[in-house]
Symmetry: C3
């Protein structure tokens, strides 16, 4: 494993042939997360989980103060990888082994590194799949989030030979037994369900439950641009109308993570006590979103599990669909032929924690 700082790699990004298995990429611009970021995030998504909204509530159940929203931590960690990993990517293909490992608090500084764990040139010879394992760490070097990710990246010098294909073995699913490290022990005797917004605990949900998150959020250009800039995510498709007007869609694309945050925020309606994301099995951005779209969401409970060695909280595996310009009262998701319903923009499979 070698560290290879490249001359101004952040400017033009890496191409398929630049990725060497075993290489460790140190991503630029560590980021101190503050209460200011929390406020901008609230202005963008209006999250209402009590633990993340109230220091007093968080302290009452055992946190030192409100932790940073998990999804926001994810945006920062992945945002740093964009200049190196996905500036020249055609597609974000998948995630695996995605786990939150420690809580993040205002004042913590997050930096990201990625190890190249696989490469496979496509048969066309014009691009290939790059596999990386990205780790976000705080100022003490402690991992706060880790995930594998694979993206399809353009090859620049088509005359170069294909590298030896290396496809990493990755777990198809995260096991709930491996989750919960970012969740401190909870003092449930003082957990105030009225303040939290719902009396429904882990035990009140059953596999197969379908939950309409009811509300919809319309996206404005200024909003998704501010979000993505807040995360220091430099993907050009989100910011540059002059360039995008000449591209396929003719307009700026909304960062897929913006949809994830909207869906997560809407999910408070029906999942008010599911305040912590433990990990993620996958998130498929099924269709692009644009300014003007109104995003609705609904969730299905796919599975339930205990968390290892603890009786304070349990885990729900959720499949959340975000759907544009369509109310989710009828749970639009997968059609009979297995394809997704029209309007589905996000199909996300993840585990959340709730008090027991």
């Amino acid at each position: 494993m070698t560290q290879t700082p490249k001359i101004d790699r952040t400017v033009n990004g890496n191409y398929f042939e630049d990725f060497k298995v075993g290489e460790e990429i140190v991503h630029a611009t560590p980021r101190t997360i503050t209460v200011g970021d929390v406020s901008v995030y609230t202005a963008l998504y209006s999250g209402r989980f009590a633990v993340q909204s109230s220091d007093a509530f968080a302290q009452s159940i055992g946190y030192p103060r409100s932790p940073i929203d998990d999804t926001l931590v994810f945006h920062f960690v992945i945002g740093k990888t964009v200049p190196d990993v996905s500036r020249n990517a055609i597609a974000n293909l998948g995630y695996a082994e995605f786990r939150f490992l420690a809580p993040v608090y205002p004042g913590d500084t997050i930096a990201s590194t990625s190890e190249v764990i696989g490469v496979k040139q496509n048969s066309s010879g014009k691009n290939g799949t790059v596999y990386v394992r990205t780790t976000g760490r705080n100022q003490n070097g402690e991992p706060v989030l880790s995930f594998a990710r694979w993206v399809m990246v353009v090859k620049k010098d088509l005359d170069l030979p294909a590298p030896e294909a290396v496809i990493p073995e990755l777990d198809k699913e995260i096991s709930p037994e491996t989750l919960g490290k970012a969740l401190p022990p909870l003092k449930l005797t003082v957990y105030d369900y009225a303040l939290a917004g719902s009396p429904r605990r882990w035990g009140d949900y059953a596999v197969g439950d379908k939950i309409d998150h009811v509300d919809g959020q319309t996206i404005e250009e200024a909003e998704h641009q501010m979000a993505t800039r807040l995360y220091q995510n430099t993907a050009r498709v989100h910011f540059n109308q002059h360039r995008e007007s000449q591209e396929r869609f003719g307009r700026r694309l909304v960062y897929g993570g913006h949809i994830i945050s909207i869906a997560r925020s809407l999910s408070f309606n029906g999942l008010a006590n599911a305040f912590h994301v433990l990990g993620l099995n996958g998130a498929r951005h099924a269709a692009p979103s644009f300014a003007g779209d109104t995003i609705y969401a609904w969730s299905e409970v796919l599975d339930k599990a205990e968390l290892p060695g603890r009786s304070d909280a349990g885990a729900l595996r959720l499949r959340t669909f975000a759907v544009k310009d369509r109310n989710c009262a009828d749970f639009p998701g997968v059609k009979e032929d297995g394809s997704l319903e029209d309007g589905v923009v996000l199909d996300m499979d993840y585990w959340v924690a709730l008090p027991r």
Copy 2:
């Protein structure tokens, strides 16, 4: 008085028949207010009152640091009540006995409760007026803001009998003698009128003075959405173009409190030392506002009063009109027939404090 947490009441809201006189509603999601919220608020309204803008200025006159803008405190306190009180409301009918009771500082956590103090079914049987007294409290349980409010709420089950009508006795006006609890003693010898933006003190204003606040602010969709999300106010009409496109106005409505904050911010022009809102007699949202509207404002001094037991500050009763797409140099307000001039969107009657 009983506490009645309802199953996922935050999702679909309460209907007229759900409100029982004497019930105390604990509203969800307490909120720690931070310097981040102050910055987003400044980015949205550009308030220039020195006390709220500068810790150094605030400390010089006796505050421990800059207090949170009163209007922002109001937005948080009322925002929490929306899922329970006004999600199914047709109209916001009035306010009474509205007083700020203690200053709020960054780091404080605000939560709201509302006592149902009256219900009266309308003759149509399809809806009714609900009266609540809402109190915002800080993390120590200390009240920071209290007001009565009545809203017209939809009845869901029209077959239910009308409840016994209870109409609370509420003061028509707040007496200035009851105001000032949120204003600490001021060290006026060091109050810097140049830094504050005007030499005009309480004694420099006379009843009948009309003050044009001169500037105008154009509203963008992203701005009012970010504001209302910051306050965790979930009223759907502000966020969901997909739904609103099928409703009466065909578009998203701007939260009435957004107009209040614009007017309050503009009022710095001419009222630069009126840095604290003591209380409110009423605020009438005379017409809806939409993105694209430009808001101007002007104020008339309705009354002057001393504050009980103090010589450092006095109170002015103001009537502030916010007017859209019309310069206020000619003070557009009430027509000869008593109706409001075209373009008036807000007619607000309140008390502010100024140094003497």
Copy 3:
């Protein structure tokens, strides 16, 4: 030198005849800068200089914590002068002797004063040039930024005689020997070039280097309005569509400083270690910008200099062009006849510091 607070001068602004040479104007509304402001600023421009982004990085090289971005300090200092100096200005004519003098940190309170150092009525008799020297100071009275500026201001009472012309002697250029006071001694042994985003130090740049900053940023109305309000800059042309619809351009103008911040942020691509602005020779807003414009930028290295008495950092003199709706790969700037290329909106000449 006399201090002259004027009755509600902040409301209608000063006219040419109101400026008296020797007068010291105390600008209203001191401003405590917080981490909240940093977050809103990041959401608007997405700056990626490691020193300003990460407390941990800043501390590692000798700062007590991340300093406030220099350009943001500038926006606050100049924003306060608008009500007094440039509310009735027709044109911003120039800057001189513009130097950052001390770092600013979250929690510091900034206030501005301006000394009138020159006046010269124009031959038309309808307006004149006003020269001021503006100083931003922190809560301890320590200057953090000082610059001379001249603006053309409207005369209100055309019957008044012309004042005696006073044209101050100002340095044509700032000497690098006078720069560096706001840059603490740097511990370069621990400066992490991978985290900073580039290995290129001061010695790696040569006079004549041209650097394309590659990316483009599209401006939305909500964004430039939020920016300018954050700075409490009250210039009407940025906020009031109702009024601007009847003016020359028919629409709101983007604050020139918004373009400066976009260009400075884009310049990270190619200048990742140029984290500090030392001073400015000039900034010409060559054409107005409007919402919908996409801003690109490129820079030329005009000069290199050592900083007096220090071996840790050196200075580069840059000329940065911001260009709208045009990729800067071909470095559009000055045409053969000396005029600016179409699309250039900003031509800025300034000094930055880099590690040696």
